[in-house]
């Protein structure tokens, strides 16, 4: 292809005359003094360059017949010829061959203006089929976006964002159809589109730097009303928006997308759609995710019925509702709303439907993992939220773990679950201990009710239960502070034999269920007593030679009653030895376990 230059014939002729006069003028300019030798040399160099380089160049241009758009080697429709097309077609300038190739790393304001004008009418399909032009365009836009003056020049002429971005969006949807074998060429083509959109959006971002926080997509995205949600999503995620802005804009884009997505290409083409694009960006910012789930609490469908890949929606929900990102009360509003939405949405009610979504049960287990304490019967932090509806916390919890895998997921999330408990304990008093003990009973009841699937899962369930026992004992016996573990394990407690008493207890009939409750109360009370005792001994509050508290015996006819009697005797011995405070403490904790057992169990039933 011929390299071009464009010129104004009369002005170039004027330049030629000026150059000739300058050569004459410079020829007569000399000093001769030794001190002026460098100046003489500089004058000579300029004269020589004008005479040998510039004047012949101008003469060659002026003496050649001008080129036209149909001249051999001239293709003014190419985007990289924008400047020459604009100058020749728009301003009547002449074209000539330029023997110097264009340096694509340099963009002049004229080139930026011309590119903006040409992009309005560019044949996007042709552009997409020309990787070289796409790369060139991306490079030019990147250079332009780094310079406010060039950006201003470009945007002064580029207006048709919707047509251009929509076309790129349609092409991108086609290139990312799920099920198609995404070859290297398709991947490269998507990368080229993304690079162009990123650079184009960067030019807009330059304009937005002076704008205060804004959540109106129409103010942020040019021609928003004419842009498809997919194209708007492509642009929005590259605008370097503040997290709050990204969340608000995404919510509005998706609300509009859902309002008329029957007509949206990406909504019925399998593969990433507008929501997938936005969720990827939102998930990268915890602050944006937290802001977005608050919007989604008003319209959960924009989160859960939008993305082609539900895992992305789940990721946004989990990040957004994490304790680090959302305060307890707001998290409660969001989590409870989401649970109710899943509980009542038709698409989740019919498992035999071929379109029945999968994976959401485990997601709900993940969703409540950091907030399980709030489902405990004695915890009231979310009561106001739940009370706005007939559904109780217990019913919502039962809904979450009704699936076999969900409870196992909850158990597998043990470390995060414990972290959530620790975050939720903002002070230490008898009320907190009562809440935790009730929680412990609720958890044990869930484990027993759901009958965890195999030995490995059962061991994990016990590990989790022990972690909670450890936490309760730590809260009860350690001074207030960051330490929230006393390193409890079954072997140290000498309580391994109690494990079977929980899972083996008969559950089929009401009488047997009552017996199971008593087994569980005895076991949990027994483990708590052992854990607290061990903590007090390790702190030196009880002498190391002190006999340990009794362990419940699952083989007893009435293990709970036997344990309570033996534990009472043990406490009396402690008091008699002068350890009234420690005896009181243990009595309170174990008493809570025994008394709260029924309350926690009810919540989990």
């Amino acid at each position: 292809m011929t390299h071009l230059l464009a010129y104004h014939p009369e002005r170039l002729a004027t330049l030629r005359n000026a150059v000739v006069n300058a050569i004459i003028e410079l020829r007569g300019t000399t000093c001769g003094l030794y001190e002026a030798l460098p100046s003489d040399a500089a004058v000579r160099r300029m004269r020589k360059d004008l005479e040998v380089l510039l004047l012949p160049t101008i003469d060659r241009i002026l003496s050649s017949a001008p080129l036209h758009r149909n001249s051999p080697g001239v293709d003014l429709d190419r985007l990289d010829q924008s400047l020459f097309r604009v100058m020749s077609s728009g301003y009547g300038w002449h074209l000539a061959t330029d023997f110097v190739g264009d340096d694509a790393t340099v963009v002049t304001p004229e080139e930026a203006r011309a590119l903006g004008a040409m992009l309005n009418d560019a044949d996007v399909d042709e552009l997409l089929n020309d990787p070289e032009q796409m790369a060139w365009l991306a490079q030019q836009l990147e250079i332009i976006s780094r310079d406010p003056a060039l950006t201003a020049a470009f945007l002064a002429n580029f207006h048709d964002w919707a047509r251009f971005c929509n076309a790129l969006g349609y092409a991108r949807v086609d290139l990312t159809v799920r099920g198609d074998d995404a070859g290297a060429e398709a991947i490269a083509a998507v990368a080229r589109i993304d690079r162009v959109v990123t650079a184009l959006a960067a030019t807009r971002a330059v304009q937005l730097t002076d704008l205060d926080q804004c959540t109106d997509p129409a103010a942020l995205i040019p021609q928003f009303d004419e842009m498809t949600p997919y194209a708007a999503a492509l642009v929005a995620r590259e605008l370097s928006l503040e997290p709050q802005e990204l969340a608000a804009v995404s919510a509005l884009i998706l609300t509009r997308w859902q309002a008329d997505n029957t007509y949206e290409y990406d909504s019925w083409t399998p593969g990433p759609n507008a929501a997938d694009l936005l969720f990827e960006a939102i998930a990268a910012s915890p602050e944006a995710a937290a802001a977005f789930v608050l919007y989604a609490a008003d319209h959960p469908a924009i989160l859960f019925q939008s993305a082609d890949d539900p895992a992305l929606a789940y990721q946004v929900a989990l990040i957004g509702t994490a304790p680090d990102n959302l305060p307890t009360e707001l998290a409660g509003e969001v989590v409870i709303t989401f649970l109710r939405w899943f509980e009542t949405s038709e698409r989740y009610l019919n498992p035999v439907d071929p379109t029945y979504p999968t994976g959401w049960e485990l997601f709900l287990a993940d969703l409540i993992t950091p907030w399980t304490l709030q489902f405990s019967p004695l915890n009231s932090e979310w009561d106001d939220i739940v009370d706005q509806n007939d559904t109780t916390k217990a019913e919502l919890l039962a809904f979450v773990v009704r699936n076999d895998g969900a409870l196992q997921q909850l158990i597998a999330n043990g470390p995060q679950l414990i972290d959530g408990l620790v975050v939720s304990i903002d002070h230490r008093d008898q009320q907190v201990i009562a809440e935790l003990v009730a929680y412990l009973n609720m958890l044990s009841q869930l484990i027993v009710n759901q009958r965890v699937a195999d030995a490995e899962a059962e061991a994990a369930a016990w590990d989790l239960l022990l972690d909670v026992v450890d936490l309760v004992a730590a809260v009860a016996t350690l001074p207030a502070g960051p330490a929230v573990s006393i390193g409890t394990d079954l072997a140290l407690l000498g309580a391994s034999g109690l494990v079977g008493s929980l899972t083996d207890a008969p559950m089929d009939v009401a009488a047997a269920e009552q017996l199971a409750h008593e087994h569980r109360q005895a076991a949990i009370g027994s483990m708590l007593a052992a854990a607290c005792f061990r903590s007090l001994v390790s702190q030196g509050r009880l002498p190391s030679g002190t006999p340990p508290p009794p362990l419940a015996d699952p083989d007893e006819d009435d293990p709970l009653l036997t344990f309570c009697i033996e534990f009472g005797v043990w406490l009396d011995q402690l008091r008699a030895a002068g350890y009234d405070d420690e005896a009181e403490l243990m009595d309170d904790v174990v008493g809570e376990a025994v008394n709260a057992a029924m309350a926690g169990a009810d919540a989990a039933t």
Binding site: Y7, A18, V19, A36, I61, F84
Partner: protein, 94 residues
């Protein structure tokens, strides 16, 4: 009898200042007004504009340098004149 050294320095300084002013007033230094994108655009015009502006900068730098040298010569002239006065006073005293 040859001219005093101070006169020689002053003459050189005057010559350099004249030359600086001459360069400063060259029409060639106004060429850049015609080599920009109002006249032509493209790689060669960009090169030509850069060429002309580069020479202009160099010549204007030379103008500054010539004036600095002229000032230095004028200081030397003043020093030489003072030395000559001192010599004459010494000779007269004898």
């Amino acid at each position: 009898m040859s001219a005093p050294l101070s006169d020689l320095y002053r003459e050189q300084a005057r010559t350099l200042r004249r030359f600086a002013r001459r360069i400063e007033q060259l029409d060639a230094l106004l060429l850049h007004r015609l080599t920009g994108p109002d006249t032509w655009v493209g790689p060669t015009p960009q090169w030509a504009d850069g060429l002309v502006r580069g020479h202009r900068t160099t010549l204007l730098d030379e103008v500054d340098r010539l004036r600095r040298v002229a000032s230095a010569l004028e200081r030397k002239a003043a020093d030489a004149e003072a030395a000559e006065r001192a010599t004459n006073a010494l000779t007269g005293a004898r």
